[in-house]
Structure formats: structure tokens, C-alpha cells
């Protein structure tokens, strides 16, 4: 069995798109950040409007109402699935075919938040998230939405300048991929970790310990072309 939570969706162009669903903890953090934003804005409104008497209280109630029901809806639809909290945590809401979320879907998932929060502290939502394959709470199940990681560009900073090499041992496709990955991520991994990884290959490589990393990088370069 493949232990992976990755979601793949086939498009009409026969391409499989994939995405990584976001888990409970990161979603809770995003929710918490949003609560801070909401509390902050409401506090400011409260200070400004409480001075203006009964009419101010009326407006304050309307603001409270709008925030508690429409904060997430507006941000999710107008800002490509991301409330400020989700944006900071790098996650986003999408339909389960990975397209952007619309008004109806967003309203369903955010209104049903009320049922998710039952009986206390999002108990129902957390239980459902823990028991569904893609970490969906009740609102997500009803709306057909998912929370996924927004893939961010991670620049690799080019290939290392090692002399291209031809491997002195046979390599399968998976092996080639691993070695290319090793070369491309040369400035993401610490030197010690790279040495450690290279040592696994140790017996196969025709060089002494200090030059194993360079040699592997060289093979990687040679493979990329």
C-alpha cells in the first residue's frame, strides 16, 4: 500500500494534477491567525463605534454579523482560496477537482462551520478531519472542497559546478532521478547530510571519502546534460 495523502485529479487534457492536502495542525494554526485578525479588526471597530451611542452599537452588530459569517467566504472567493491566515500558512481552499472555489461552495463550507464547531472547540470537525482521507471537515464534505498546500516556487539556484561524470556502474531510472535530485539540491542540504548520503553509495564509488559528494554531483550533472 502506498502511504501517501497526495491527491491526483485527471483533467480533460489527460493530465494528472496533484496536490498535497493540508493536515489538521496547519489548518488549526491558520484558523487561529484568522481569529486574531478578526478580533483585531473588531476591537478597533468597537473602540471607534462604542462612543457613538445606540446607532454605533447597531452598526457594530452588523459588523460582528458580517465577520462571523462572511469573512472566510469573501476572502476565499476573492483571493483564490486564501484567507489571510491560510495565506500565511501557505494553504488554500479549492474544489475537489482543484479548481478555484466559488460563492456557493464557499458559503456551504463556511456556514456548516457551525456544525463543525459543535459541541465544543471544533470537536465534530476535528473528528471528521481525522477520519477522512483528505482531511475534510463536515463543511468540506458537503461543499466538495479541499484544503491543500499552495505549491510555492522553490528556486534551486542551478547546478553545482562539478565536472560532469559518467557513472562507472549501471543505473536504473529511479537511481538516476535520485542522483539528479542530489545534485540539484546541493545548496538546500547541509554539507554533513550530503556527506552522509554520499557515504551510503560509498562502496560503489571509485573515489575516497572526501570526494564522494563531488563525484556524485558530477554524475548528476552528466545525467541532466
Amino acid at each position: 500500500m502506498k502511504i501517501s495523502t497526495q491527491i491526483s485529479v485527471e483533467t480533460p487534457e489527460s493530465i494528472d494534477l496533484y496536490a498535497e492536502p493540508a493536515g489538521i495542525v496547519i489548518r488549526c494554526l491558520a484558523w487561529l491567525l484568522d481569529q486574531f485578525v478578526i478580533a483585531g479588526v473588531q476591537l478597533v471597530c468597537f473602540i471607534l463605534l462604542s462612543l457613538t451611542g445606540a446607532a454605533g452599537w447597531g452598526i457594530l452588530l452588523i459588523i460582528w454579523f458580517s465577520f462571523s459569517w462572511f469573512y472566510s467566504v469573501l476572502f476565499e472567493v476573492l483571493s483564490e482560496g486564501q484567507t489571510p491566515g491560510k495565506k500565511w500558512m501557505g494553504i488554500a481552499v479549492v474544489n475537489d477537482d482543484l479548481t478555484s472555489i466559488g460563492w456557493g461552495t464557499s458559503i456551504v463550507r463556511n456556514f456548516i462551520r457551525f456544525a463543525d464547531a459543535m459541541p465544543i472547540a471544533y470537536f465534530a470537525g476535528i473528528i471528521t478531519m481525522a477520519n477522512t482521507k483528505h482531511f475534510q471537515r463536515l463543511g468540506d464534505l458537503a461543499a466538495g472542497s479541499l484544503v491543500i498546500y499552495r505549491q510555492t516556487e522553490n528556486s534551486l539556484g542551478g547546478l553545482p559546478d562539478a565536472r560532469p561524470q559518467v557513472a562507472n556502474f549501471p543505473m536504473g531510472r529511479e537511481d538516476q532521478l535520485a542522483v539528479i535530485g542530489f545534485a540539484q539540491r546541493h545548496n538546500q542540504l547541509s554539507a554533513e547530510r550530503q556527506q552522509e548520503l554520499a557515504n551510503i553509495m560509498g562502496p560503489l564509488l571509485p573515489v575516497d571519502e572526501q570526494h564522494r559528494v563531488d563525484y556524485l554531483r558530477g554524475i548528476g550533472r552528466g545525467l541532466v546534460g
Binding site: T11, E13, S14, I15, L17, Y18, A19, G53, A54, A55, W57, G58, I59, L60, L61, I62, W64, F65, S68, W69, V77, L78, E80, V94, D97, L98, T99, S100, G102, W103, G104, I107, V108, F111, I112, R113, F114, A115, M118, L138, L141, A142, A143, G144, Q151, E153, N154, L156, R173, Q176, L177, I180, G181, Q184, V224, G225
Partner: protein
């Protein structure tokens, strides 16, 4: 083809698409310094998208590095989202919603509307009758304080003496009705996912309380203050509570009895319809809040004016639901040719 040659050959196209993806769909979010993507390129986007799909497939097949595959996948996902997204802009959609979508959803789900009406009206009428014939009955559903407060609100002797509410308090009450009533309706809908239990509870509860109050005040002889006050906004408010209940019931029933679908699929289908009903109910409650705060509370308006305006509003609401619903449903069936 080696990966680097492949990248060199197509990077220009990928960069163009990435530039297009980084522009916002929203005019007010356009960044100043960003160079606008040319019209010619936008016209070529679908073609470019198909090419990149091809590149992604090739990159996967040829086992190019995960970094390149990720980048291509990111472009493809982005384009897919843009090209297949619905139009989230309002423009005329709200008009379509009130002429077609909302009344059609009501008409096609009239079974749920009927049941919600029954769950609301039966306890209402029962308690109304009970409280009318038995003055003590009201105390079994409301506390002594609540009864006293409610009685003093509609006491005819106080009304005549008391001056009109100031505009200030009108605005406060408007905010309060929005916060309270629309919140109730939205929760009534959301609670439907708990197998409809919560929705049924809200319907019964509101039926009981409103019925009891009506019966009790009628029995006290306060009808000259009570009925003119409630008839206007009642048209929108009571109907909307029932409609939000129908939306909640639909969610609940879809899980309990999914028919040909899986339970999950059935819930999804149901929520798509139910959300239309609940949005409509929300707007109706907004109108109700406005009427209640700025019209119903005007003590100076003669009773007969209030009653006739109220009657017209009731006729409008019920007529809209009945006739617009049937018309929209027929129109919709003709347009989609029964394929949906």
C-alpha cells in the same frame, strides 16, 4: 532529449505562462510595476496550456527531475484553475439569482418547504390556541420576566403615551435583527448536516414561541398594537425561517436517504441546491430586518395603513414563491432540455 535541452527549448513559453498566472483576475488588485501580458498571448493561452500539458506528460515519462515536474505541474494547475473557473463576478448574476435560481430551487424542493411549513405551523397553531384559551399556558414556555417584558412592549396604554422611538434606536434594532435573525436562519441551515435534528428543533421551537406569544397577546386584547406591528415584517421573516428550515431539512434527508447516490454524493448534490435557498432566505431576512426596524416600529402610522401594507407584502412574498417558482422551473427545464 536531455533535460537541459528540453528546458532551454521551452523556457520562454513557461515564463510567459507564469507571467500570465501572476496577474490577478481582479482589476483592483493589479500591481502597478507589473508589465501587462499582451492581448495576443492571452488569446493563445488555451493552446499554450495544451502544450504545457504535453510537456508535463513528457517530463514525467522521461523521468526529468522532480523540480522540473513540480514547476510544470504548478503551471498546469494554475492554468487549469483559470481556464475552468466559474465567473465569480457579481454583475448580473444576482438578478438571475432572484428571477431564476432562487424561485426555481424553491419550486423544485417544494416537498421540503411543505415539511418545514408543517413543522413550524403545527406547534405554532397548537400553542396559539392553547394560550388563547388558557392565560396561564404561556408560563410553561416562557419565563415570568420574558412574559412581562413582552406584555409591556405591546401594552396599548403605553403605546399611546410613549413617544416614537428615535432614529438612533431604529438603527440599533436594525443591527440587532440582522445579527440575531439571520444568524438563526444560517445556523438552522448548517445544523441540517446533523441529520436534520437541529433544523427540526429550530423550526419547532420558533413555532412554539411565536404561536404562544400570538395566542397570549390576543387573549389579553392587545391586537391593535401587536398585529399591525408584526404583519409587515412577518411576511418576509416567518417565510424565511421556514425556507431556511427547508434548506436544512434537505441536507439532513440527503444523508439519511441518499437514493441512488452514495451518502457523500447525495449530500453534495443537496448542498448545492440548499445553499441557493439559504442565500435567498438570508436576503429575505435582511429585508425583514429593514421593515421591522424602520416601518413596523413607527407608532404614528394608522393601523389600517399598516395592515394593508402588510397584506400587500404577504401577497408579494407568497406570490413570488408560488408563481415565480413555477415559471422559473419551467423556463429552466426548457433551457436545459431536461438534461440536468
Amino acid at each position: 532529449m536531455r533535460q537541459q535541452d528540453f528546458e532551454l527549448q521551452y523556457t520562454a513559453l513557461w515564463l510567459d505562462l507564469e507571467a500570465w498566472l501572476s496577474t490577478s483576475r481582479w482589476r483592483w488588485r493589479k500591481k502597478k510595476e507589473q508589465e501587462p501580458v499582451s492581448e495576443e498571448f492571452i488569446a493563445r493561452v488555451p493552446e499554450a496550456y495544451r502544450l504545457v500539458c504535453h510537456h508535463l506528460a513528457l517530463a514525467k515519462k522521461r523521468r526529468y527531475s522532480p523540480h522540473l515536474v513540480d514547476r510544470l505541474n504548478r503551471i498546469v494547475v494554475g492554468c487549469h484553475n483559470r481556464l475552468y473557473a466559474g465567473n465569480p463576478r457579481f454583475r448580473y448574476q444576482w438578478l438571475r439569482f432572484f428571477i431564476i435560481d432562487f424561485p426555481r430551487a424553491l419550486h423544485d424542493n417544494s416537498l421540503y418547504v411543505k415539511w418545514a411549513t408543517i413543522l413550524f405551523l403545527i406547534p405554532g397553531i397548537m400553542l396559539g390556541v392553547l394560550c388563547y384559551f388558557n392565560p396561564e399556558m404561556i408560563y410553561s414556555v416562557m419565563s415570568w420576566d420574558q412574559v412581562r417584558e413582552m406584555e409591556s412592549m405591546y401594552d396599548p396604554s403605553r403605546r399611546i403615551l410613549g413617544r416614537e422611538r428615535e432614529a438612533d434606536t431604529d438603527l440599533f434594532m436594525f443591527g440587532f435583527y440582522i445579527y440575531n435573525n439571520i444568524g438563526i436562519a444560517f445556523r438552522e441551515f448548517a445544523g441540517g448536516i446533523l441529520l436534520g435534528v437541529y433544523t427540526v428543533f429550530v423550526l419547532l421551537f420558533n413555532g412554539v414561541i411565536l404561536g404562544a406569544v400570538t395566542g397570549h397577546l390576543t387573549q389579553l386584547g392587545y391586537y391593535e398594537t401587536f398585529y399591525p406591528f408584526v404583519i409587515g415584517h412577518g411576511s418576509f421573516e416567518l417565510t424565511a425561517i421556514v425556507l431556511a428550515g427547508a434548506a436544512g431539512l434537505k441536507l439532513g434527508v440527503s444523508i439519511i436517504s441518499p437514493g441512488h447516490f452514495t451518502r457523500l454524493g447525495s449530500l453534495r448534490e443537496a448542498s448545492r441546491e440548499a445553499v441557493k435557498i439559504v442565500i435567498g432566505a438570508g436576503v429575505m431576512l435582511l429585508i425583514a430586518a429593514f421593515i421591522e426596524a424602520f416601518w413596523s416600529s413607527k407608532a404614528s402610522t394608522p393601523v389600517w395603513v399598516k395592515l394593508s401594507v402588510g397584506a400587500v407584502l404577504w401577497a408579494l412574498v407568497l406570490g413570488y414563491i408560488k408563481y415565480m417558482g413555477r415559471r422559473a422551473s419551467m423556463m429552466y427545464a426548457r433551457v436545459t432540455d431536461g438534461s440536468e
